[in-house]
């Protein structure tokens, strides 16, 4: 075997009490696709952030192409031929594709940018790897898939020989993922090496040559992909038995929420809806599949009372509601937003105030005075009942882990301020990406809550970009693209390929 292109030895990194990476030793061979598999929070992102110089390891060394890589220096990583495609877009919306690709490729103090050379290089690279883009397009106008192509081109135009992709398929349709895998194969054929980060077993087995499994910061297994079974991977990844959520029998009830030809205007595609009609029934989980930024945000904002429809009507329990979150809460909407830190919680406020935040006027205040004692008692019960760990009710909520924060948000939404547990049943549950970034245990917990509430008679709207999640939970699936909705059909009537095409906007598929 030839000299490895990358050699990580004993990488350790702590954040406070948490050991994110614990003595990880790992090689990457030339022309290899190495999958880094692990749950959310297993330490994958930390590891590649150290590799790329965003973080400095507390201990351990990295060698690239036989030479030591100076720690904490992204410029050195780039110079050594390491390219990274981040999980979140690192493109500037207001600049063009060419601007974004040329950034950092020239000496800073050059008096005139050589844009013509940069453009020629971009076009040549794009052709060579079959990644078509318009160099002069403003990034804000690109779709999520196109943005990812630009991100990859950014690395390739800088002659990256090692490409790191952090959860690249999370935002793609199944077909786009396929195209990405083909591109990766092409790159490997050109002599590049790839590190592919994922928590999805199927794609890891499909795309990689070798798999390294991380769990709670440690490297627990490394094996060739060929001959490895999904079950073995799952066990290595989770390391414990996670009881899968159990769907209780539930029956479709009356219509509780109706959207009739709803249109919403907005600057970006994601903020728009165009003639959306949808009826949500009690005792049924309706899922909305779609690639990020296709109108999910508008739909969720509408059903959370954050925005109003510009045309059409929306009713909950037969009544039309204005854009007022409190009105929706009082009408029985339980809302689980996708952004836990920026929307779901008030970071600097203590846990107990967050627990009553949606009900601070009723029932937790009278005459404008907060009923502190009953509010705190309620918060304590909520924390017990939903097993929110890691904080007392007086700690600022921002110190909670993502999983515990989500438990608080779900618990708050499902309890509705009622004095006895389970005395309250929401009419409608709006869950937007409810398991994003959670580990397997927390994912199963959230899924169980949704299934239980549905069995008790709530209507559930699940908006998710994760098709596995959708197929695991949904009774009916609708697909959103460009602000339009492909009407819901029973989950069993969809194939993965059909959903993928609908997500990409191919209307005939539906």
């Amino acid at each position: 075997m030839s000299e490895p292109v990358l050699r990580l030895s004993g990488i350790t990194r702590r954040f406070g009490a948490l050991v994110a990476n614990d003595g990880i030793t790992l090689d990457l061979a030339a022309g290899e696709v190495l999958a880094l598999l692990g749950e959310n929070g297993a330490g994958k992102s930390t590891l590649v952030s150290i590799l790329f110089g965003h973080y400095v390891a507390d201990a351990g060394t990295i060698e690239a192409f036989g030479r030591p890589l100076p720690p904490g220096d992204p410029a050195a990583a780039l110079a050594a031929g390491i390219g990274m495609v981040h999980q979140h877009s690192t493109l500037a919306d207001n600049l063009t594709v060419l601007d974004n690709v040329m950034l950092g490729t020239e000496p800073l103090w050059r008096p005139l940018s050589r844009r013509r050379e940069g453009r020629a290089r971009l076009v040549a690279t794009a052709e060579r790897f079959g990644l078509a883009v318009d160099p002069d397009a403003r990034v804000a106008r690109l779709s999520v898939g196109e943005r990812q192509r630009v991100e990859i081109l950014k690395a390739l135009t800088r002659d990256a020989r090692v490409l790191i992709l952090d959860e690249p398929t999370a935002v793609l349709t199944p077909q786009e993922s396929e195209a990405l895998f083909t591109t990766l194969r092409g790159m490997v054929a050109e002599g590049l090496s790839v590190i592919f980060i994922s928590h999805k077993l199927d794609e890891v087995l499909r795309v990689s040559d070798r798999i390294a499994v991380l769990r709670t910061g440690r490297l627990v297994a490394a094996m060739p992909s060929r001959g490895t079974s999904k079950a073995a991977l799952a066990e290595a990844m989770v390391g414990r038995a996670v009881a899968p959520p159990v769907a209780k029998p539930h029956a479709r009830g009356d219509v509780v929420c109706v959207l009739d030809r709803v249109a919403m205007r907005g600057e970006r595609v994601g903020e728009r809806l165009d003639g959306v009609s949808l009826a949500l029934h009690a005792g049924e989980i309706t899922a909305i599949a779609g690639v990020a930024g296709n109108g999910q945000a508008a739909l969720v904002d509408l059903l959370c009372g954050m925005r109003a429809a510009d045309a059409g009507s929306v009713t909950l329990g037969g009544a039309a509601l204005p854009a007022d979150p409190r009105g929706w809460i009082d009408a029985g909407a339980a809302r689980i937003p996708d952004d836990r830190r920026e929307v779901g919680t008030l970071g600097d406020l203590p846990v107990w105030e967050n627990a009553i935040a949606e009900r601070y006027r009723r029932p937790f205040a009278s005459g404008g005075i907060v009923r502190r004692r009953s509010a705190r008692a309620y918060a304590r019960r909520l924390v017990d009942r939903y097993d929110v760990r890691g904080a007392g009710i007086d700690t600022p909520v921002r110190t909670l882990s993502g999983g515990n924060m989500q438990k608080l948000i779900v618990g708050r939404a499902l309890s509705g301020g009622a004095s006895k547990p389970d005395a309250y049943l929401p009419t409608l549950i709006v869950a937007s990406q409810p398991t994003w970034g959670l580990d397997a245990g927390a994912v199963a917990w959230v899924h169980q809550q949704l299934l239980d509430a549905c069995a008790r008679g709530s209507a559930v709207l699940l908006v998710s970009e994760d098709l596995d999640e959708i197929f695991a939970l949904a009774d009916r699936i609708a697909v959103i693209h460009g602000g339009r909705l492909v009407p819901p059909r029973p989950a069993k009537q969809w194939t993965l390929a059909e959903i993928g095409l609908a997500m990409a906007g191919v209307r005939d598929a539906a």
């Binding site: 050195a76 600049l95 950034l103």
Partner: protein
Amino acid sequence: MLDALASMLANADFWSAVLRIATPLVFGTVGVLLCERVGVLNLGIEGIMVAGAFTGWLAVHAGAGLWTGVLVAAVTGALFGLLHGILTVPLALSQHVSGLGITMFATAVAYYAYRVSFPNVSTPPTIATFAEMSWLGVPVLAAQTPMTLVAIALVPLVAWVLYRTPLGLALRMVGENPAAAEGQGLSVYALRIGSIAAGSALMGVAGAFLTLSAFNSFFFNMVNGRGWICVALVVFAGWRPGKALFGALLFAFFDAMQLRLQQSDAGALPYQAWLMLPYVLSILALVAVARRASYPQALMRPYRKGER
């Protein structure tokens, strides 16, 4: 009334006044622009102008050349900018409060230093200021000092740097999506702090124009809100250097006009009403453009390494 207006507009003195009023605003506005383009609000401008006005003037009063005075003012501004940069970039403190703190600090230091240097003066000491460029032969420009030419030349220079050089691309990127710059191996902290220091140096020069060109002495309250007006002008200009020059000239036009009307139209309105006009205009301009202004996306968003 219309006749008076027409004769005013035909008068070269009027246009000279417009340019003179615009000059410190151009320096200040471009300075604010350099800070905000990398994502940092700099409310230190008002105080930095006071400090620049003082140190530039003090240097000349102590025997240095006029251009040395300008340089001293620039360095003064850069130092305060550096402080603001450290407080707001790596320490990620509130840009509003830090900026106000810089304004209070710079103003207090300048006044204190003035009183220490000149404990017992009743009338402010004076210096020989920049001379008008009468040799230039161009009507309105000939009545200006060389600092005005520098201000006008500064605008295309900054536009060139921002839009034509790799450095400018990096600066714009840091104000739009700092994570992207970090991902390309650029130092967000260095770019931000550097640009804030450079912008603050220009604010210092803006102040120095007041003591080395417009007036010949340093006195209290001489900046009188010009710094705040620059902050408003940058929003009005949509963070573009060319429009910033236009905005400063437009503002100066109205200011010069109110000064004339105040003199010619005595009695109809109290003079204070005319003096309010520039501030009222600034607020109205802000209200008019705020909704459709395309802010630098990372403006007032502190960047923490490795956090997304």
